[in-house]
Structure formats: C-alpha cells, structure tokens
C-alpha cells in the first residue's frame, strides 16, 4: 500500500445525481450526463471550421492551454498547429464526454486555473529535488491546498478536490488519509465513523493504512501482527511478534502519520479469529515523537514516488482501547466474546473499493504518456520518407505508429472500462454495506483482474511511450521517467498482479463449474453478467471473410469471448485431468495456474472490449466523435488479437488467412488514427503544468524548452566539487602540452 490516493468518490457527485433523476429511467448515470449537458452546439452538429480563433475558443482559452509561462508559449509550433487545422470531429465535445459533461469540463478548468495561478503549486522543480526535499514539497503543497480548499469551500471528496488532485498529479502529502477514511467507512461502525472522520478532516490526526508487512503482502491470512484482547483492561495488545511481522510499505507512515489502521490477527478468549482492523495511535499529537512501544521510520529510497514516506512500524505490546477495533462486520464484547456480523469476504470490501478507485488514476498516467510521446513525435523530424523531401515527422513512420497508437487506444479503452466498473461499484456498494453480499464475488473478481490488467498495460504502455521518445525520453525533463516509476508501483501494490489475475481465474473456473453441474433453462440468468458468455452459444469458426469484417465490434467481442471461454474450459479440464491422475485439488490448481493466467487475461480483454463498445452505443447523437472513438475501439481489439494470434489460431477459430485480414485491417487503422492523433491527445485536456514535460507541451516548442530547463539544473547552477578534488589533479598530474 503506497501513496496513490486518487480521491475519486464512489458516488456520483451531486450534479450528476441530479441529472440522473431527470432521465428517463436508464439505470446508469453516465449517458444521461451527456445528453443533458449539451453546450451551445446541437447534438450531431459538426465543427469543421478551420478558423483558428474559433477552434481556440472552443478548445479553451490559450491561457488555459499554454501555460508554462515561458516566452515560446506565445507561438504554437507550425508542425503541431497544422495537425490541429483540420478537425474531423469536435475535440471539445470529446473532452466533455471524457469529463462526464460540459459542466464538469468547465469546473475542472476552473480548478486548474486557480491552482496554476498560484506559484506555490508549481511542479517544475520536482525533477531537481532529493527524496527528502520531494517529501517536504509534497507536504507543503498539501498544506497550501488545504488552505485553498478552505477558502474556496471545496469539501473533502468533492469534485473540486478530485480535480485539484489530478491537476497536481498527486504530488501531495497525506494521501493515505483518504485510504484510511475509506477503510473506516467500509469497516467501521456508525459511531466509529462519527468519531474519527471529523478529526481526520481537520487534520487533528493523520491516518495511514498498515496492512503489508515485511514478510507478507497480498496474502492477508499470512499477516503476523497480533491483537490480543485483554478483558481485564478492555484493551487490545497490538504486537509484532517477529522480524517479518514489521509493517512495511504503508504510505505516510515513515514521517507523517499519527494514527495507523493496523490489520492484525485478532486473538480473544484464546482463539484466533482472523484479520481485523485496529486504529493505533503511533505518534504524539503534542510533539510528533513516536509513542512508547512504537518503532517507526521511512523504508528508504525507492524507484519512484519519492514524495511518499513509505514507512515501517514495529509494535511492542502497544495497548489500544476496545473501541478501536473497527466493528461493522465483527465485534468483541467487553468480556471477550467474539461476534461475527459479516461473511469472510466483507473484510475485502475496502480493498475492492480501493482497487476500483485506483483505475482512473492509473489510466491517467498512460494518457499523459501518450500525450507527451505523440506530441513529441510530431515535432521530432528524423530521416527521410522520400529522398526529395525534408525529414519526416517521426509519427509518420509505421513503426512509430504501431508503437504509440495502440497505446492511445488502450488509454481510451481503459477510461471507459474504469467508468463502467465505478458504476458497477456504485450500484452494489450500498447493498454490500447493508450486508447483501450477492454481487460481491463478481465485483471482487472484476476489481482484482481489471486492476491487474490496467496497471500491467499502463505500465507497459507508459514505458513504450518513454522509449518511443528515444534518448530524450530518458531525461527526467521529458516527464516520462517519473511517470513510469509512479505507474509501475501499481503493479505490485494493492495486490500483486499475478495473485489478482488468479483471483479472477478462480471466479471464472467456479462460474464455469456451476454451468457443468446445473444444466437447465434458468442457467444463463444464474451466471453473473460479466461471465454470461461462458454458456452463450458460440461459433467454432470466425465468420470473417474480408479485412473490413474485422471492423465490427460484434465480431471481435465474440472473438474475445470465444478465446476467454476456451481458456477457461481448458483450465477446468486440466484440473480435472490432473485430479483423475491422482493429484489433490490444491496441487492440481497450482499446476494449472499458467493456464488460469491466460484465461483471466483473455477475460479482462473481453470485458474491456465490451465496455468500450457499450460506451460507443451510448453516443448515438455524436456521430463524428463516435466514429473516431470507434476506430480506437477497433484498434484496441485488433491489437490484442494480433499480439495473441496463437490463442486464436489454436483451435482453428481464426484461420491463417483471417489473421492476415485482421493484420491488414489493423495497419489501415493505424493510418486513420494517425490523422487524428494530436486531436485525440488534446482531448484529454491535460494542462502543460500537469504534464510537466519539456517534450509534451501543447505548443510543441520542445527544443527551446528542453535547453532552457536543462540550464536550470542544479548540476549547472551549483559548483562542481569533483573538479577541484579529483579532475584537476588528474589533468595536471602530467602537464600536457596539448
């Protein structure tokens, strides 16, 4: 658990709720936002005007867009300007759709301009700071933001607070406070919530969430920290019995937190009751020194996330009152009687919530990486495409398109995926809190598998974007290294990805096994929606006859469903075969995990393709935007097929000739998406300050900015002690006549 506290509220914000009630009864809040928040333009009206001032007006003010505050910003580089000249779709509409409505875009921009007008929030020097300075800068920014929020009346968990967080790329301290509160709301009783939330909001205490230990992470049952109930004093004694039980990794723990929500094995009346959460004070509220029995500190330098003080915590028989155990799902009575109020899975709810809410933030990192790499690929000219012509923009090279454009498609696909999962969470969250757990298994599986997929793909994609910028992508001033090191952390925190994929696989296998035992007419209804295809009628051969057939969402959605179903069946059969030959169930499971992984990944791909096509269906009134998004959806799906052709050829679902057709369709798509590439990156509407990249600015003035920024590096402005100490003596050791 580290410091990615993306503060996206589960519940739609008030305006969004309001709009939902205006609608005609469709259950999700998202499409209604679109249809009720039209700006001055009519639905379907296309903006093909090429008047730059009009374009400028629609795309937000120049001040908003071009804002690094340097001299080159006044002029947009002609190479990038020409890319924006011909608009086949209205970029502003797409931005609105991504934001959830024109009002949301307006609100976000308002927050951004407030933040950017205050130099205290500048991120520009971040790349020059040491770990300690980074931490301090993040705490300082958090302080200023709290002051600002108070002045502006931005509530905790408001839209504005979320936008502020996004604007600052999360370079803020105390982000675990948010996770602490989430867990408290999920696992705490109403009295506990009423007691602790207000003091958190006023920063009277700073909370962190301490689950991971030195020896154990994702495997919750293996945690060693103990909380033993002492009925005599009505206290829990929280203790780290071994070296490996030391809490390790929690963000904000190293230097900041005053309280930790400690996950520990509950022991009461001599019986072990499993993992429960306890609020443990760790630092003095008077002088911030560690309390008796507490050994706490920072775990040292990491690959990235320098601004987060991930910490360790060793507990030596620390006593906390009985009331500090979170008791929504389980209670310990004063006499030590243990009462269970929920299922074993209820403890997972806070993790589920956290994982789902991570997705938009992880996706945003890939989106930013695409913006930077694609804009740079327009400015960068290298080598020639035709001997007589000037050097070509590198985005015109097929290999560069093949590297970047599928990543752009993925960035869009995950946007819609995250949104649909948030909606699902929203729809099921209240029921689960009311102890109706019927949707929890599916939600748990989806949150696990999709967290794994999104973090995997975004990390891979961001790193591809970085390398696609050649050597300059290696410079921190490109913004890409810190972006990569940040997003890659998400592959191992909040559940290691392989373990998470396997959790999803377990759900797939169980669902399929259910279909095997209970064949009947009500069967399909009994399978959760996301896996209903396991029993749906399936074609053994793909019907595509020409390349264009691969540009149909029904076709590739079906293809992904086919592969996911086949791999799930393979998993089940493999387990059965092993068990027939004498292996026990657990051994058979372990020896099938490689297939489980493939099945889970194919299922995730299917879910993503499906959520993207469903989002497209809701855009009937926006044909131009829909068309451009549709291409991205096609590209995402085909890219996946072509990187896994073996899975599709394996049982003859696709023939060799069909794979070639898919490849033709894919290569043609690259050219089409290429034309809109800059507009598609503009539509994400990240400000220059938020990107914080010399390569990715809106105006395209890459080289001037890079040169200027480099000269401000401390390595140039400070003295070079190595020269006097070592270089000069060397050079003069044998005075040369050169």
């Amino acid at each position: 658990m580290t410091g990615f506290g993306w503060q996206l509220e589960v519940r739609p914000h008030p305006q969004c709720r309001h709009r939902t009630t205006q609608d005609t009864g469709r259950s999700s809040s998202y499409p209604q936002v679109l249809s009720t928040t039209q700006g001055s333009e009519q639905p379907g009206q296309q903006c093909l005007s090429s008047d730059p001032t009009q374009i400028q007006a629609r795309m937000g003010s120049p001040v908003h867009r071009v804002s690094m505050g340097d001299t080159w910003s006044r002029q947009v580089h002609p190479d990038i300007e020409s890319e924006r000249y011909k608009q086949t779709f209205d970029v502003e509409r797409l931005t609105n759709i991504l934001d959830g409505g024109a009002q949301d875009t307006a609100l976000r921009r308002k927050v951004e301009s407030i933040i950017h007008s205050d130099p205290e929030f500048s991120l520009k020097d971040n790349y020059f700071l040491t770990q300690s300075e980074c931490y301090e800068a993040a705490v300082e920014k958090k302080f200023h933001l709290q002051m600002l929020a108070q002045r502006q009346g931005w509530a905790e968990d408001s839209r504005e607070a979320y936008y502020a967080y996004r604007t600052l790329s999360g370079s803020l301290g105390f982000s675990l406070q948010h996770i602490f509160l989430k867990a408290l709301r999920s696992l705490g009783s109403e009295e506990q919530i009423a007691k602790w939330v207000p003091v958190c909001n006023k920063f009277q205490i700073i909370g962190t969430y301490a689950q991971t230990e030195l020896g154990h992470g994702t495997y919750l049952q293996g945690l060693e920290t103990e909380a033993t109930y002492d009925a005599a004093t009505q206290e829990f004694v929280v203790h780290s019995p071994t070296m490996t039980a030391i809490k390790w990794w929690p963000g904000d723990l190293g230097r900041s937190a005053t309280h930790a929500l400690v996950q520990a094995q509950l022991i009461c009346s001599g019986a072990r009751q499993g993992i429960h959460a306890f609020i443990v004070p760790i630092r003095s509220l008077q002088d911030h020194t560690p309390l008796p029995g507490i050994t706490v500190g920072d775990i040292g330098p990491k690959m990235g996330l320098d601004h987060v003080d991930n910490g360790f915590l060793q507990l030596d028989h620390v006593r906390v009152p009985r009331e500090n155990m979170l008791s929504r799902f389980a209670q310990v009575l004063p006499d030590g009687t243990y009462i269970k109020l929920g299922t074993a899975q209820s403890n997972y709810l806070s993790m589920v919530v956290t994982r789902v809410e991570l997705l938009p933030g992880i996706t945003a990192e890939l989106q930013k990486a695409c913006v930077i790499a694609i804009r740079y690929s327009i400015i960068r000219h290298q080598s020639r495409l035709r001997p007589s012509e000037p050097e070509a923009k590198i985005l015109d090279y097929q290999t560069q398109q093949q590297t970047l454009l599928p990543q752009l498609a993925t960035a869009y696909a995950f946007h819609f995926l995250a949104r649909s999962l948030l909606e699902f969470l929203h729809d099921s969250h209240d029921a689960i809190l009311d102890r109706d757990f019927s949707l929890l298994p599916e939600l748990h599986a989806l949150s696990a598998g999709l967290k794994a997929m999104v973090s995997d793909f975004c990390t891979y994609g961001a790193e591809l974007c970085r390398r696609a910028c050649g050597g300059h992508g290696y410079s921190k001033l490109s913004g890409l290294p810190s972006l990569v090191t940040k997003v890659t952390a998400s592959c191992t925190f909040e559940g290691e990805n392989t373990v998470l994929y396997l959790q999803m696989a377990r759900f797939l296998v169980k669902s399929y096994q259910r279909t095997q035992v209970s064949l009947g007419p009500t069967l399909q209804r009994s399978l959760p929606q996301s896996v209903a295809y396991l029993t749906a009628p399936d074609l053994a051969r793909c019907p595509a006859q020409r390349a264009a057939d691969f540009l149909h969402p029904e076709l590739y959605t079906m293809a992904w469903a086919h592969v996911a179903a086949r791999l799930t069946k393979d998993s089940v059969h493999h387990i059965q075969t092993l068990m027939r030959s004498g292996a026990d169930e657990h051994e058979a499971w372990n020896r099938t995990t490689v297939i489980h992984l493939q099945a889970a990944k194919a299922h995730c791909y299917y879910v993503t393709v499906k959520s993207f096509t469903e989002a497209l269906e809701k855009l009937e009134s926006e044909p131009a935007v829909r068309q451009v998004l549709r291409r991205l959806c096609d590209l995402y799906a085909l890219h996946g097929i072509l990187t896994n052709t073996g899975d599709f050829l394996h049982d003859g679902f696709l023939s060799g000739a069909q794979v070639d057709m898919a490849r033709t369709a894919y290569l043609d798509l690259l050219l089409l998406v290429r034309k809109d590439a800059i507009l598609l990156t503009d539509a994400f509407d990240f400000t220059d300050q938020c990107l914080n990249s010399a390569l990715g600015c809106y105006d395209g003035n890459v080289y001037e900015r890079l040169f200027d920024w480099a000269q401000k590096s401390p390595s140039n402005t400070q003295e070079n002690p190595a020269y006097e100490k070592y270089i000069r003596p060397l050079l003069q050791s044998c005075r040369s006549k050169l």
Binding site: Y127, S132, Q150, K476, Q718, L730, L731
Partner: protein, 621 residues
C-alpha cells in the same frame, strides 16, 4: 546462511563451479577474474558507498573519485588486458556508472579506428592516462541515430588551416555526450545519475586541421577532400560498441535473475495446500513461469555475447588487413542483436523486479538501479527500431540476391533453401512440419523456417508496395512493421542456433544436462509466446503447440531444483549485485531493516516538515 538456500545448494544436480568456468571462457579465466576481484576486496582503499543514499551530485563526485582512483590502481596492479580491465572495473565501480567512461569506450576506440598513426601518437597516451578526458559528441538535440541528419558544421579555412565549428540551430546543440569539462549538464535522468551527460554549443570555434581524424577520409591543407575507401569503415566504433552491448544485456539480466531467484527461494507466502507451512514462492508455478524462461534467456544471451565478441575480434583482424567482406553481415548482425537482446533484457529485468513484489520497488532490491541503467541501451548507440530496420535491410538484400540466383552465406544462408519462386506468402504449407520438441537441433530448424517465412512475407509485401507506389522509401515505410518482425525472427533464430551449438561443446554430463533443459526451455517458451507464427506458417500443428505448452511446464519442474545453483554459477559478488534481496547468504529481512534505518529521511526523529507545515496546518483548520 539462510537454511532454504543451504538446502537448495545441497540439492543441485551439477557443480556450479564448472558452469562458471564455461561462462568465463576457461578455468584459467575464472581463476584470474577472482584474483583480480580479491585484489580489490582486500584493498583497504576500496570503499563501498551505498549509492542509493546519495544525492545526484554526491553520486557524481564518488564516481569521479572511483574513476580517478581506478586508473592509479590498475597501473599499480599491472592490469592491461581488455578482459582484465573489464573485470577490474565491474567490481571497483560497484554499480556506479563511470563518468569518464566515454573516454575509454568511445574516444579512444574511435581514435584507434579512425586516427592516423601520428594522431594516435599525439592523443593516445594522454587520454589513456586521463591527462585529457575525451568524450564522443555525436548526438544532437534534434538528431540521434540518423547520422546524416546532424547539423553541426565544420567549415575548413585553408588560410589558417583550421576548421571552424558551429552549432547553427537549437537542434544542432550536442546533447547527451558524457564527460563534460566546461559545458553544461543536461539535467536529471531516469538513471546514470553519476554520468554528467552534457550539452555543447559551439560558435565559430576554431580547431587545427590536424584534429580531424584522418585515417580514412582526409582534408588536405589546400582544402581538397579525399574520400575514404569504404564509408562503412566509420561504422567500426559503433559495431564494436554494439557487440559489447549484447554482452551487457546478458550480464544485466543475469544479475536480475540472481536477485529474483534467490529472493524467491527465501520468501515464503500463502499456501498451496491448506494446513501446510507457507511454501517458498519459487514453488508456485506462476513464479517459475515468470522467472525460469528469463534465466534461460540470460544463459542464451551470455553465449551470444561471447560469440559476438569472438566474431568481432576475428573480423576486426581481417579489416586491419583490408578484408571487408564480412563487414556487411557483421554490421547487420550487431545492429539486430543489439536491439533484440536489449529489448528482451529490458522487459525481463522489469519482470524480475516485479517478481519480487513490493520489495522489488525499493532500491534495497538493487533492481530499479539495474533497470534504469540498462534501459538506456534501448535508445543509445542506435535506437532499437532503427537497428532492427538495418538488419531488415540486409535481410532484404540477401533475399534479393537469392532471388536473382546467387547464393548467400553466413547466418542468412537459410534463404538459399527458400522455395520462393513457387509459393505465395500464405501458402507455405509445403514445408515439412516434423518438429521434435525435445531436440534443440530440430527446434533450431523450426525457428529457421519461421525466420525464412517472415523474411519472405516482408520481402513480398515490400515488392507489392513498390509495385503500387513509385517511391521505394514510402514502400519501405509501409512495410516496416513486417520488416521489424522479420528481423526479430532472424535474431531469435540466431540466438536459438547459438545456444544449441554451445551445448555440443560442453564436456561435463551433468552441466550439459542442465544447460540442455535451459536451451529447450528458451526455445519452447519462445514458440509458446509466438505460437501464431508457427501455426500460421504450418511449421507446427495445433497438437504440437499443445505439447509445447505442456513441455514448458514440465521443464519448469525439471529446472526448479537447480535454479539457485544456476544463478550462483553467474558468480556475482554481493557488492556487485547491490541487493539486499539477492544476498548470497539469503539473510534478507534482517538486512532490509538495517538498510532502511540508514535512509536519509530517518536522520532525525521528527522531520523538519512537521514544524514547518504540519503543525501550522493543524492549528489553522
């Protein structure tokens, strides 16, 4: 010693010492390497700072001190042989990048390659002794791999017999060269903190005529230009560096595998069977599936690296005697293999890091540092896609040659066997598909067929595009995705082939058996990951692919007992690994705690920011 590691080592089926000797090239090499390493380890002047706790400026300073000290020490110990220098450097620098390294890796080799005897006499001695510190300034802000696009000008002035150097535009500013003296540093980077990669802007800067390296091309005092015999010769330095980088890919990946596999043998987690103690994570099939193919890759690249080095030295002798016949293939091979091995190792090192879970993200694991240092290889000394396309150009040339009736030789000789006149790209089913998945030779054949098929498809698609469009360059661009695939398949074939051939030279039975399993795993894993290519080309059937998947899993189980011994055989010193997780003794957790306590953030009990920001915040809200 950690009991798990003790048990693992006792259970190994072979003697890792013998394998170490194979990796070093001979028992004598192993002996000498260790002797040199011990010189350093026993030297009281050798200080080992943990680079993770230093700022960038401190890292640079320490690295410069180490570099300067190293010159002195190597003279003292009489170390001059290139291999011995490398062994010495690897340990002496620990994991610091050598800030004056460009002097040795680029400046001096270029001088040797392209300088006249007189020029070498003038500059070589002082640069070797670091009385001058050389760098190599090729890359500019606006141009990297595409050499002809460079904008810096050197205008000859016959009157003064000088060249006037100019940086005419912003994009022509030299960018990235290491080892600055008076110019600027380009700022913080992903890795290479110790290296002061710099910029250099020149404004009518004059240098004497003799400073142009003139072994091949020359400018006479009157300004007459004399062309070099072959313009390929100027690529000599690059070829040398690229073949060295293949070895670096192997070494970096070997380190990452050592750390991840030792840690996976020490780490216990979760359960396979309820009620039993937590198993070592190396016993999970998914963990084996993540790591063992990478271990096999590390061995494959070790052997490729050794082959490249030998080939370079052999061909280089020929070049010295004016024989340029092998240069085109060498150039094509080093470019593609540099790209292939660095891309693969890049992803593999990251996979090793992630296989260590959260602790892999901490610098205590040593893995982030290995990664950020190594990943630069993908973009420097020739961006990888461009490298792949260089190899593709050679493959297309060879294909055309075969097509016009001439035989080709070397690694591309399989193109001679193409029944290309008879078949269409999609109709390759005429090829025999009897692949024995337990025979390295047969698998080499399968990879050969895949390479041949993809080269042919690229060639035919290129022809079709040329036919439809007038410009060759446009056609090339529209086929480049296919061309890169063809190059990758060619390189993959070369690696499989070299690994299979290496097996034949191994004497010891038990070592041969374990290497054979690794070779099979490398080959079969590659097939399972690229099954589409083998199925579509009818090189293998669907049921064979199923057998391949199954055999991969069996090999994981077969390699499992030898995994720790296989990484021990790489014989890295703990200081070189720089990893708490990868320690030879396996005492991970105690040392992790000790390491963390040294973090700069723990210097005071209460951090300054509490007084500056936190207290005021609490009072104001």
């Amino acid at each position: 010693m950690n009991p798990d590691l003790l048990r693992e080592r006792a259970a190994a089926s072979f003697n890792p010492e013998l394998l170490t000797q194979i990796l070093d090239g001979s028992p004598e090499n192993t002996r000498r390497r260790r002797e040199i390493e011990n010189l350093i380890l026993k030297d009281p002047d050798f200080q080992h700072e943990d680079l993770n706790f230093l700022t960038r400026s401190q890292r640079y300073e320490v690295a410069v001190r180490k570099s300067a000290n190293m010159v002195k020490k190597m003279r003292e110990f009489g170390i001059a042989d290139p291999d011995e220098i490398m062994w010495f450097k690897k340990l002496h620098l620990v994991n610091f990048v050598e800030p004056v390294g460009l002097n040795y890796s680029m400046f001096i080799p270029t001088l040797l390659n392209q300088g006249t005897t007189a020029q070498q006499e003038k500059w070589l001695h002082s640069s070797k002794g670091l009385q001058i510190i050389g760098t190599y300034a090729q890359t500019e802000m606006g141009h990297g791999t595409h050499l002809r696009g460079l904008e810096t000008t050197a205008t000859y002035d016959p009157e003064t017999q000088e060249f006037i150097l100019n940086s005419p535009t912003v994009t022509s500013i030299k960018w990235w060269p290491g080892g600055r003296i008076t110019v600027g540093d380009i700022g913080p980077k992903f890795g290479y903190d110790e290296m002061d990669n710099g910029y250099l802007k020149m404004d009518n800067y004059r240098i004497p005529r003799e400073n142009m390296l003139m072994k091949y091309a020359q400018v006479k005092p009157d300004g007459t230009y004399v062309k070099p015999v072959s313009n390929k010769l100027t690529y000599g330095t690059m070829v040398f560096v690229r073949s060295f980088l293949v070895g670096e890919a192997a070494r970096s990946l070997s380190k990452a595998c050592t750390i991840a596999i030792r840690y996976s043998a020490v780490r216990h987690q979760s359960e396979i069977k309820p009620g039993e103690p937590e198993p070592q994570i190396l016993d999970f099939q998914t963990q084996q599936y993540k790591l063992f193919p990478l271990l096999a890759t590390a061995y494959a690249f070790q052997f490729v690296g050794a082959y490249m080095k030998e080939t370079y030295l052999r061909i280089n002798e020929g070049i010295g005697q004016g024989d340029l016949s092998e240069l085109p293939e060498l150039h094509a091979l080093t470019a593609g293999l540099k790209a292939f091995t660095s891309w693969t190792s890049n992803a593999a090192i990251e996979a090793c890091r992630m296989a260590c879970g959260g602790h892999g993200y901490s610098h205590c694991s040593g893995l982030p540092n290995i990664y950020v240092t190594f990943t630069a290889t993908c973009t420097f000394e020739g961006e990888n896609t461009v490298m792949m396309l260089q190899t593709a150009r050679f493959l297309m040339k060879s294909y055309d040659q075969v097509h016009s009736g001439k035989l080709v030789c070397g690694m591309v000789s399989y193109l001679n066997d193409l029944p290309s006149q008879r078949i269409q790209p999609q109709q390759v089913a005429v090829w025999p598909s009897v692949v024995d998945i337990n025979s390295p030779d047969s698998l080499t054949e399968a990879y050969k067929l895949r390479a041949a098929r993809l080269v042919e498809i690229a060639a035919k698609n290129l022809q079709t595009e040329v036919f439809h469009r007038k410009s060759k360059e446009v056609a090339w661009n529209l086929t480049s995705v296919d061309l890169v695939r063809a190059s990758e398949a060619h390189c993959h074939y070369v690696v499989v082939k070299l690994f299979a051939e290496k097996l034949l030279t191994i004497q010891d039975k038990s070592v041969q058996a374990v290497l054979r399993n690794l070779c099979l795993l490398y080959s079969l894993y590659g097939i399972s990951q690229n099954a589409g290519d083998f199925l579509q080309g009818s090189i293998m059937t669907e049921s064979q692919i199923t057998q391949v998947h199954q055999r991969v899993k069996e090999l994981l189980t077969a390699i499992r007992p030898d995994a720790v011994a296989l990484v021990d055989a790489f014989d890295f010193q703990d200081v070189t690994l720089g990893s708490v997780l990868g320690r030879y003794d396996g005492n991970v957790y105690e040392n992790l705690f000790e390491w963390a306590k040294k973090s700069p953030l723990n210097k005071t009990e209460v951090h300054d920011s509490y007084y500056k920001h936190l207290k005021p915040l609490q009072s104001k809200l």
